[in-house]
Amino acid sequence: MKIKFLASFKNILKDFDRHNKSQATDLLEYELEEMEYVFATLVYSSFIGIPGIPEFVAFELLPCMETELATFEQKNENADDMLADLFSKLSFE
């Protein structure tokens, strides 16, 4: 009984720790997402009419860029409401 209680307590502490760490990394993750968006924009700027890197360099990178392209697409979808996006990331209510 005592051991079970200690194990549950340990799990609660672990969850608490995980939650704290996740909160601590939220901002960093947002920054990372923005950097990935900038990277994708630089590589595929010709998609949005800005002259950029030689297109064969972009084409060479294309097979490795699935995640970045998904971020690029999602960011562009939210581009009309950037403030809401920022507030939701920063957990403003």
Binding site: L28, E31, V38, F39, V57, L61, L62, P63
Partner: protein, 298 residues
């Protein structure tokens, strides 16, 4: 192994000079590969060869090669598309792969196909020949072939710096979350690809600047002269050393100093007399050029 590029305006005589030079080298028992980088090839016409083969052995020491850039481009896109389909399986559900397939037929990109071909040649054929001679496309395309690796390296440098920051940031996040207890650097496919592209293009840039012997073929025609002046300026901007000028269709009666005319005094000038091309159909030209370049087969 030495490499020679004969550049200049269309019609200046690049192909004839390059062929004559290759022929002469082979007569001196140098194992020579003569390559046309111009999509509108005419090496086989010069050597009177009527064949659909892209490679041909002229004599025991001379081979010519007219690469099919359309095929190189097609193969390249095909290979890349296979890779792309591997990571975007879901595209097939919407039949989008059909659209991707049309990329293979996109126009242009001959300059990139030429760069792909050049990289392959320098990797695979260097050890098989004493000399590789390139007959080049007209000025505009050749300048793009010269400048693309340098422009790409500039961009790739910037992308690598940004990518390294992204990888570091990812590392920090996984460190805080204790996902990566040993703090090992994770592989990043994009960074690896960028580093590989950087190595390839810097290698080509180094080759252009330090190993390639670039000659400008010019004649007294006003338009050819003006284009040659612009070409020489651009080569200087790209930091590519001009090895010499080939004064084609030279007339002994006219006292013209081609190096002064082209604004590059002191650059070696090799004169090819007008009638010599017509008279010596077996391409026994440019003996002087070989001697002055110090090419001796010991």
């Amino acid at each position: 192994m030495k490499t020679y590029f004969f550049t200049g305006k269309g019609g200046a005589g690049k192909s004839t000079i390059a062929s004559a030079f290759g022929w002469q080298l082979s007569q001196h028992h140098f194992k020579t590969l003569l390559i046309s980088l111009d999509p509108a090839h005419n090496l086989k016409d010069i050597f009177d060869i009527n064949s659909k083969k892209s490679q041909w052995q002229i004599n025991s020491c001379l081979s010519i090669w007219e690469p099919d850039f359309e095929q190189i481009k097609y193969d390249y896109f095909n290979q890349r598309l296979q890779l792309l389909k591997g990571v975007t399986q879901h595209l097939s559900a919407f039949n989008l792969e059909k659209y991707l397939n049309t990329l293979k037929y996109s126009p242009g990109h001959e300059d990139y196909a030429a760069i792909l071909f050049l990289t392959r040649i320098l990797k695979n054929e260097k050890q098989n020949y004493d000399v590789i001679v390139f007959d080049t496309p007209p000025t505009g395309m050749m300048l793009r072939i010269f400048s693309l690796p340098m422009v790409s390296v500039l961009w790739i440098d910037k992308l690598i710096k940004l990518r390294e920051k992204i990888v570091d940031k990812r590392q920090v996040i996984s460190g805080i979350r204790a996902e990566n207890k040993n703090n090992e650097k994770r592989r990043d496919a994009i960074l690896e690809k960028l580093n590989q592209l950087h190595a390839d293009y810097s290698g080509l840039e180094h080759f252009y600047k330090n190993e390639a012997q670039v000659y400008v073929v010019a004649n007294e025609d006003r338009l050819a002269l003006n284009e040659s002046i612009r070409l020489i300026k651009e080569l200087k901007n790209l930091d590519i050393n001009l090895a010499g000028i080939v004064h084609n269709k030279y007339k002994a009666t006219m006292e013209i100093e081609m190096d002064k005319l082209l604004g590059c005094q002191g650059t070696p000038v090799f004169k090819v007399q007008e009638q010599s091309i017509e008279e010596k159909r077996e391409y026994e030209l440019l003996v002087n050029l070989l001697e002055e370049l110090g090419i001796h087969n010991d």
